[in-house]
């Protein structure tokens, strides 16, 4: 098996690991993937994937307004807000 590209996965997942952590995770992930590779021993051709245990259909409801938006309430726990907007570092110079 090719070595797992931890740096690539970290970029996708927006995580930063230092060198020691990267080495540790490299080893752990290699063992985890080797463990899950046991799955390949079972022939699953023609088996429909099961995404949800009850396979329920999404229900419909009357198209009525049931919730009110309370920005002040939900923004009271935000790290930084101004005039009802969430503040982040400048994106466009």
């Amino acid at each position: 098996m090719a070595a797992i590209d931890i740096a690539h996965l970290c970029r996708l997942a927006q995580l930063a690991l230092d060198d020691a952590e990267t080495r540790a995770v490299q080893g752990d992930l290699a063992r985890i993937i080797a463990m899950v590779d046991q799955m390949q021993a079972v022939d699953t051709s023609g088996i429909e994937p099961l995404a949800h245990p009850l396979e329920g259909v999404q229900r419909l409801r009357p198209d009525l307004v049931t919730e009110t938006v309370e920005p002040a309430r939900y923004q009271s726990i935000a790290p930084a807000v101004e005039d009802g907007l969430y503040l982040v570092p400048r994106v466009v110079e």
Partner: protein, 493 residues
Amino acid sequence: MSTPEPTAFTPLAALARGLRERRWSSRELTRHFLDRIARHDGALRSFITVTEERALAQADAADRRLAAGAATPLTGIPIAHKDLFCTDGVLTTCGSRMLANFTAPYDATVVARLDAAGAVTLGKTNMDEFAMGSSNENSWFGPVGNPWDPTRVPGGSSGGSAAAVAAGLAPVATGTDTGGSIRQPAAFCGLAGIKPTYGRVSRYGMVAFASSLDQAGVFGHDVADLAAMLAFMCGHDPLDSTSSDVPDPWLMQAADTPPAAPARAPVIGLPREYFSGLGTGADALDAARRVLEAAGCRFRDISLPHSPMAIPAYYIIAGAEASTNLSRYDGVRFGHRCENPQNLEDLYRRSRTEGFGMEVKRRILTGTYALSVGYFDAYYVKAQQLRRLIQNDFLAAFADVDLILTPTAPGVAFPRGDLADDPIAMYQQDIFTVPASLAGLPAMSLPCGFHAGLPLGLQLIGPHFGERALLETGALFQRDTDWHRRHPEGFPA
């Protein structure tokens, strides 16, 4: 003349009777458990937040409701919530630094329904970060001790709820179970713990880990206590589109009429895959089988041939769903934000890196790998195909048997630190609980003996929406055994 005092291990029905007959007030009962938390929890760390003022206010409201004759069987009963149920105005941390500053702006449906019934919330219990773990060692707020031996783990991820109930710091507590997070800690702490059918209880306001697996449930000593709590927790919720609209009239009245032994003793399957090579606990399970046999249950050997694939399939599916669910933690709208972000990328990356612990990062990366280009079919789709084969095994078995009996965990509670450096060995803790999770089946752990002074659990698995059969058979087992009446010595009633 003295009033008889409630003990820390009095069943809910007796606590409720005492409230109705004015032998104690909800305030006295609440004070009793708050005092026990103050006295004992320093050593256990089972609570992250104790909501003393709020609890006493709820208790006073419950006392008024009792006086007005408008009480439910839970009115005035103190309970605890795992710290991943959102509680309006109360810290909801999910055991993570990421949410260490998160005061929930609304109630989870489970919390709202138990509040409406009049239950009193003592506080929020410790847990593995984002419910990822089997030992409660992955909490930002520190590890939880097992009341039977505080140098050992209580199991996870709902280890705080399990330890709190086992030590008599709360009569019952909620938990959640994605791959065994109620059943394994119940077994390790000598408690009854039930994970209902997927969809039986609303997930609204539960911090999500793996959405196709997560399900809320309960810890208690008696099966009747589990049923009383579920009676109020269960039922369709328009706020959770995956919550089931199959009503269960029996379960909904189970707080008023506790489960009794079933009218017809069930036929119980013993899956050979779960028993081959079982060392610790084999004798206790054999004794449990004989107890049930003496009460009229019949046993049949069955096979669930795809069981060995459950752990690999689970760690792909749960990792994939977790990596998706946890992408919402970006330091923008709530939760941890890093200091002085240089740009948006830096804000995301450092907030997440600082906010998540190592096990959460491992699972996010595993899930990211399984979902990445070139690996999606080989891992994610493959795991979902195996999930169907595992579910088919159970459906075939339930054509012949009413319930399935297995061990809950491969051993007893292990010493803290023993598996901390070996994620694969830690994942094997879930080997007997994960299959029912993948299939969405209800399952319950009950105390069934001891090994070297530590509790052992048996697991009963039922067909979809078969909570009644589980709880009634559990009532039968507890009628004829007293394992659930044993309590750890360090926490006298």
